[in-house]
């Protein structure tokens, strides 16, 4: 519980609340769009570089490979059962898009979790960042495959997107590319490099995270409010109940799977938490962007609202401390 309060009273989370509150009182507070975009690039750049430097200092061992493989497999498996759970209750395109969304990860949730660990002085490994980056894309591919196989038949509009194209997309995706690239550079330049840019990537990290989460709070709350007026896109009440239920339960299920993997691999506390967070989090940038291209039949008012406006805050505010407590209790 104390852990829980500790996390809730960290500035970054409080600024997320503040952003949401701004929307609640209909304040005109807004972060300029290009600034928000830049802050998210900064976070990917910083976490990537930090991870790379950490990697350059750590000795390479099998558990790294095991973790990477396990998590990538997880990110490919999650969409499958998610899809089959939801296909009865939702339009098939939406089911596929949600599946992809939850198989993938939220970089910011991960970043916040690393900040949470740093503040508590719990160590975590640099390769977890690679893990995060590598988990962004596989789910996209799986989601599309599922839709092409089960969905196309009932006459969906538009031509299916080629897999080759999809795979290209997923490596060249801007955020994945920036994380992996920064990580590579951090790994190459190691501590010398870190000395040069530490003031930017380390010292400013939590402060800029606050400002970014302030924006996230605004955007997420805004989205929940607009949801009422989603026009023809607005999901039915029935669909809505399914959405909320899924957005609340999927993270818990996936986090549990993550916990299982962590205990199987006997990961240390910090990595275990990050594994759970990666499993539990859902993408709200890379995957939705890919879905709009590859699966425009799917309704973003469904999958994006779920990941951005429900699952993201859930993991951020309750998930991280609860997963941490679970690890302390079980592992």
């Amino acid at each position: 519980m104390s852990v829980f309060l500790a996390s809730l009273s960290a500035p970054p989370l409080l600024f997320f609340f503040l952003g949401a509150a701004a929307v609640a009182v209909r304040s005109d507070l807004q972060i300029p769009a290009q600034i928000a975009k830049f802050l998210s690039l900064y976070l990917l750049f910083a976490i990537g570089f930090k991870g790379g430097v950490a990697l350059s200092e750590s000795t390479f061992d099998a558990s790294i490979v095991l973790t990477l493989v396990a998590m990538i497999v997880l990110s490919a498996v999650v969409p499958i059962y998610t899809f089959f759970i939801l296909r009865q209750r939702l339009p098939i395109a939406d089911a596929a898009a949600i599946a992809a969304t939850y198989g993938s990860v939220s970089a910011v949730t991960f970043v916040t979790a690393t900040g949470y660990l740093d503040v508590q002085g719990i160590s975590w490994s640099g390769y977890m960042v690679a893990c995060m980056a590598l988990m962004e894309s596989p789910a996209i591919v799986v989601g599309i495959l599922l839709f092409n196989h089960f969905g196309r038949k009932d006459g969906a509009t538009g031509t299916p997107v080629s897999m080759g194209h999809l795979l290209k997309e997923s490596v060249s995706n801007g955020s994945v590319f920036l994380i992996l690239g920064s990580m590579l550079i951090g790994w190459v330049t190691g501590t010398d490099g870190m000395v040069q840019i530490k003031p930017l990537v380390k010292d400013l990290f939590l402060g800029l995270l606050c400002l970014f989460l302030l924006d996230m709070g605004i955007v997420a709350a805004q989205r929940l409010r607009d949801f009422q007026q989603a026009g023809e896109r607005r999901p039915s009440g029935q669909t809505f109940r399914v959405m909320v239920a899924a957005a609340l339960l999927l993270p818990v299920m996936n986090a549990t799977l993550g916990l299982g993997i962590a205990s199987l691999l006997g990961l240390p506390e910090g990595n275990a938490l990050l594994v759970m967070v990666l499993a539990a989090s859902a993408s709200y940038i890379a995957v939705p962007a890919a879905m709009r291209l590859a699966l425009p039949e799917a309704n973003p008012a469904t999958y994006l609202t779920m990941s951005l406006a429900i699952t993201f805050p859930l993991n951020l505010l309750i998930g991280i401390p609860v997963y941490h407590a679970a690890i302390r209790w079980l592992l």
Partner: protein
């Protein structure tokens, strides 16, 4: 001054590459693109505030003096609008030739 059609398309950011590819493929003279415009329509508010770009529109203006190409363009645009929403307006204009 030469009579031409002024085609104005508001479409989701994610569809723009498809659209510009189409413009190129049809051999049109060019286009002008105003990025990150906001709006509201059948699919609700679009605040251009999503990092995924999902809520951003682009405004594309195309001047074309070849009726056949105009037709072809509109044919190509329709499916995009069906898939991703948006509007396409066509009006008459005169093009100052230089």
């Amino acid at each position: 001054m030469k009579a031409c059609k002024r085609i104005e398309i508001v479409i989701e950011k994610s569809m723009v590459p498809k659209l510009t590819a189409l413009v190129k493929q049809l051999g049109l003279d060019g286009y002008t693109l105003v990025p990150d415009v906001r709006g509201s329509g059948d699919r609700g508010m679009r605040r251009a505030d999503e990092l995924s770009g999902e809520s951003s529109n682009c405004l594309i203006i195309i001047a074309c003096d070849d009726q056949a190409k105009v037709e072809a363009l509109l044919e190509g645009v329709r499916p995009l609008l069906v898939r991703a929403g948006g509007v396409c307006l066509v009006s008459d204009a005169h093009w100052l030739r230089h």
